[in-house]
Amino acid sequence: MTIVAFVLVAGSLLSSSMKNGLNSTKQRLGADLMVVPVGYDEGVEGILLKGEPSYFYLDSSIAEEIGNVEGVQTYTTQFFLTSLNQDCCDIPVQFIGYDPDTDFLIKPWISEVYSDDLKDGELIIGSDIVADDNQQLKFFNEKYHVAARLAETGTGLDQAVYGNMNTLMHLFQAAKKAGLAFIDNIDPQQSVSCILIRIRDGYSAEEVTHNIRASVNGVQVIKTKNMITTTAENLGGFISFIYVFAALFVLVAIFMLSIVFSVMANERKREFAILRALGASGKKISKIVLTETLILSGAGAALGTILAGGIILSFNTYIGDRLGLPYLQPAPWIIAIFMGGGFLITVAIGPIAMIHTIARLNKREVYITLREGE
């Protein structure tokens, strides 16, 4: 019973968190196409889905060329940078610089938590980044003011820090001063990391991708829908596996328990026969047996539910990291429904497995049962 409750609750919490993470990713990817340097499609996926910091650069003139491509309605650029592992307890952070004049992606999220325009030197942080008590963060030996913290998305964007292009240029220079040798050859004023595109109505992603490839060299075009579809397909397979596994588990549990209960009832048949001889009705015997089963199922289900909830909810961050997929814990009331549902289904398994045994107990002749073996 404990194992059944554990599988049901843990399975439903895991699948719900993964679905939630995917929906959150869909909402966050407001662009139709992303243009990155050739070979860096995995880098973008790492940033968006897994929270793996990355950086890569294109010449900023490419953005202007893309703006003139047929089918492109609007575009904006972003600039990426990562921090260093500065001490034992500091993880590298993804910096994302956006252009406030053209941005159509990041500003809507920021407006949910911060109504003013982001000033130079100010940062907005993802939900996993922690600022100090003075709302400041130190990067490359310089302190930056944190204007607001974004809500949790369950994606890699929770581990990112956002600023306007001027702030990112400042961070870039500071990084150079701090000794980040790999950016020595980059001119930040002439570089962008990623160009995000919205397609004009009447054009398909394939058409615009073809147009971009025909007019711009040395870039890779990523269809964001495809990126999500691939993740959704992987996730769909995994979630189906969880459901099938849980359903099989419930069926096997009902089958096994009906055998166990049957054996137990057989061992106690004289006890029940004596009760019947003393005047207890079949209904009374059924009630006794069902109550005992409910107590057993209830205790097992409660233990399994508490264990599954405790483990899955406590290790939420670790599970998300290990899965490498968008993972966002559902709202507390949904968690309560899953835990309550798992508990009730498991409690119901006991009486369901007992129905056959009760019917057999009540059919048995009292006299014959008492004289059996004499």
């Binding site: 929270g51 001490d87 034992c88 307890c89 500091d90 993880i91 996993d128 980044i129 922690v130 581990q159 405790g310 483990i311 406590s314 290790f315 961050t317 670790y318 990291d321």
Partner: protein, 156 residues
Amino acid sequence: MEKKGILFGIVITVFGLLITIGPQTFWHVCRSDGDMRMSCFYTARAELAIGIGIAILGIVFALSKSQKAKQALSIAVGLSGIYAFIVPNWLIGVCGAEHMHCHAVTKPAVSLVSIALIVLAIVSYVVYLREGVKEDDRTTVDDHQVGNTELKEETA
């Protein structure tokens, strides 16, 4: 020695050892490079001491014969469990960033073991409290029977 007491003692000792060894090994805190030490380092140190204390309480529990002593030991184990829980959660804490190993693994692992230990301490306290009550009842009945026998002998 009664089996139940030995079993309780062994489980308490195992939990104590998990609290001692866990933050140093399988659910380790963040690795410290050089002199820079974050709060999780001190949490692991504190849990080491608390865990050893709990393991010793478990051994004493298994060896103890008195029910009163077992009740007292249960209270001590429960309080140690509370202490083991509040060290990573409030008293000392762990690193702030959610994805750091100490935050994502050490804190929930120590918290779950501590909660299990507190529940175990409550269960063992109730078990030995009830056994103590039963023992007292038996003693009262025996005294009463001895008194009746003496009365009969005197009458005879």
